[in-house]
Amino acid sequence: MSDATISGGLNPITPAPPSTPPPARRPATGSSSTWRLTDRLGLAFAWLLGLLFCAITAAIVIFLVIQGVRFLRPYMLWTNPKVSYTQSGSGGFFDPMIGTFIVAGIAIGIAGPVGVGVAVWLSEYARPAGLARAVESTVEMLAGAPSVVLALFGILLFESHVLAAASYTSGGVVFGKSFIAAGAILSLVALPYVVSSAREGLQGIPNHVREASYAVGKTKIATIRRVLLPAARPSVITGYMLGIGHVIGDTAIIVLLLGDTETFQGVGHVPVLGILRGTGSTLTSYVFDNAPTGDLNQPNKAYAAALVLLAIVLGLNLVVDVFGRRSRELRWS
């Protein structure tokens, strides 16, 4: 070797002789009996809180399931509510159940595309930066707004003559309460969940994936449509499900904007539109009315309907879980 610096660099590195690792200050899996008293108290407290939380949740679910199973009868799923003073004569909750699906459908039908659009804009364009910040904080504010406030705004909005077609008008007064009105305002409840989840999904896509699409001559629009949105689909669906879960669980907007009639009261003669323009109820308002403190006071029916409501929401959470897991499966390194 002529070059001293190079030959020096090529000297074989002698491996360090194997040595015993330094003793750990505290065995990682050892018993906590060697800990300081404050640490042990802290650990005990953390355990206690965790167990308490589980116990409370379990108590709610078990209570609801026991009460629900006691009072839920299959006929209730396909019988409409009837006016009666006895619990055996007051029918089931077919219309409220369908009503739940209708408002969820309308709300996500609006919040879905709008939310994904907002998310795409925030994630892929976001210019000018000031507008992006404004949109961001608007969505956050919407997420934090109590639904009863949104409901009040909805009443004002849908009682205006411009939106008279959404409900029925009698003697020049717009009633302002209908499935359309409730669904539209409920979409504001779902929107933040769709936006934040879809946005998270889009931002989780590495930048080189976008560039790979541009690098084969694709436009930004084509990249968004054909690469980014399909890649973000699991997150978008998670957002939909979270949104639907909150729409289904909302009561204030339903009570104030759906008219809170136990069965569908259609408006006009067009079959589907009639129902959408008319009033009705959902499982939440049905439970609200039939609860022991409610107007109708049919507690057995309230428990049965609450169980169905709980089952629907838990089912949605299950879907979210499955999609969340699948979205983690196929990713770029």
């Binding site: 070059d3 610096t5 190079i6 660099g9 090529l10 074989p12 590495p206 080189h208 994936v209 560039e211 790979a212 699409s213 541009y214 690098a215 084969v216 001559g217 694709k218 436009t219 084509a222 054909r226 690469v227 399909p230 890649a231 196929l330 990713r331 770029w332 390194s333």
Partner: protein, 313 residues
């Protein structure tokens, strides 16, 4: 023919005879701590221990000038990343850009299909011509179909193997072509990337289920599907295992006759193994541009000599 090299396993076996031209992958024996085989093949003026390892022969087809980079400087805001670089890019040979991290080689590569324009602060002076046409006069999308790119991380799109390639072919047509009418072109592209045999039965499987090396070859197939004149490779093997790397290196050498290839690499041995010409960049400057044997065997510049001999970088 060089293209039909013995399989990797044989080359790694200790029984492989050390001939006057040792098998190409004798070079990695250095990594194993056994420099004897490589040292035997050293020429007197060799600066890199792997010089003399077997390289593919020069392409038999005549080279065609595809791109001309003339006095190109690229800056990010006020920071100059590439300084007055000029070099030719030819079909029929592989051009490797080497240099330490941050020396501007990736920036230069990305400027060739105007991907640098995606960075808001980037600005370019000088001229880059593709087949005699200034690339700034072309539509970016049209340019990027003629100068396609493969990235460091394998990044197949979240769709089937078939659709990954078909994606490139669709949407340039006025009406969306039917799947069956694309099949031939998709299979041709996959075959050119040497992937067709492995995925022929799983064209409908998600591309992200393929192995890393297969994903990267799918990305090459995707880049080839546009029928480009120039193929840019940005460290295409740095996320792959040695076996997949060897497959892709063979592929690159094979492809050089159909398309001009520019490859950015950190791996000097790789540049030596596959490149015909090498550009060494340092702090944004093109320090030396020469044939691979010259640049690694007898570099003219001291900085090149220091870099390829491992004194820095």
């Amino acid at each position: 023919m060089e293209l039909n090299r013995p399989p990797r396993v044989r080359r790694l076996s200790p029984a492989a005879p050390v001939t006057a031209r040792p098998p190409r992958t004798e070079a990695p024996t250095l990594v194993n701590g056994n420099g004897a085989a490589a040292a035997d093949s050293h020429g007197a003026g060799a600066t890199s221990s792997f010089v003399g390892a077997r390289r593919p022969p020069r392409s038999t087809v005549p080279t065609i000038d595809r791109m001309q980079v003339e006095q190109v400087s690229i800056a990010y805001a006020s920071k100059l990343a590439v300084k007055e670089v000029s070099l030719p890019i030819r079909q029929g040979e592989v051009l490797a850009l080497i240099g330490p991290s941050g020396c501007g080689k990736t920036t230069l590569l990305r400027s060739l299909n105007r991907l640098t324009e995606l960075t808001k602060t980037a600005s370019l002076t000088g001229r880059i011509a593709l087949d005699g046409t200034d690339i700034t006069t072309l539509e970016p999308t049209a340019l990027r179909r003629r100068v396609t790119m493969v990235f460091q991380q394998p990044n197949p799109f979240p769709m089937s193997v078939f659709d990954n390639v078909a994606y490139v072919l669709r949407e340039q047509a006025k009406r969306r072509p039917r799947r069956d009418s694309l099949r031939g072109e998709v299979e041709t592209a996959l075959a050119r990337a040497g992937l067709l045999d492995e995925v022929a039965d799983s064209l409908d499987h998600p591309a992200l289920r393929l192995s890393g090396g297969q994903q990267q070859r799918l990305c090459i197939a995707r880049a080839l599907a546009a029928q480009p004149e120039v193929l840019l490779l940005d460290e295409p093997c740095s996320a792959l295992d040695p076996r997949s790397t060897a497959v892709i290196e063979d592929l690159v050498v094979k492809l050089r006759e159909q398309v001009a290839i520019v490859i950015v690499t950190h791996n000097l041995q790789q540049a030596y193994r596959i490149a015909d010409h090498v550009g060494f960049m340092y702090l944004g400057e093109l320090v030396e541009y020469a044939s691979a044997t010259t640049l690694f065997g007898s570099p003219r510049q001291q900085r090149t000599k220091d870099y390829v001999s491992g004194a820095f970088g």
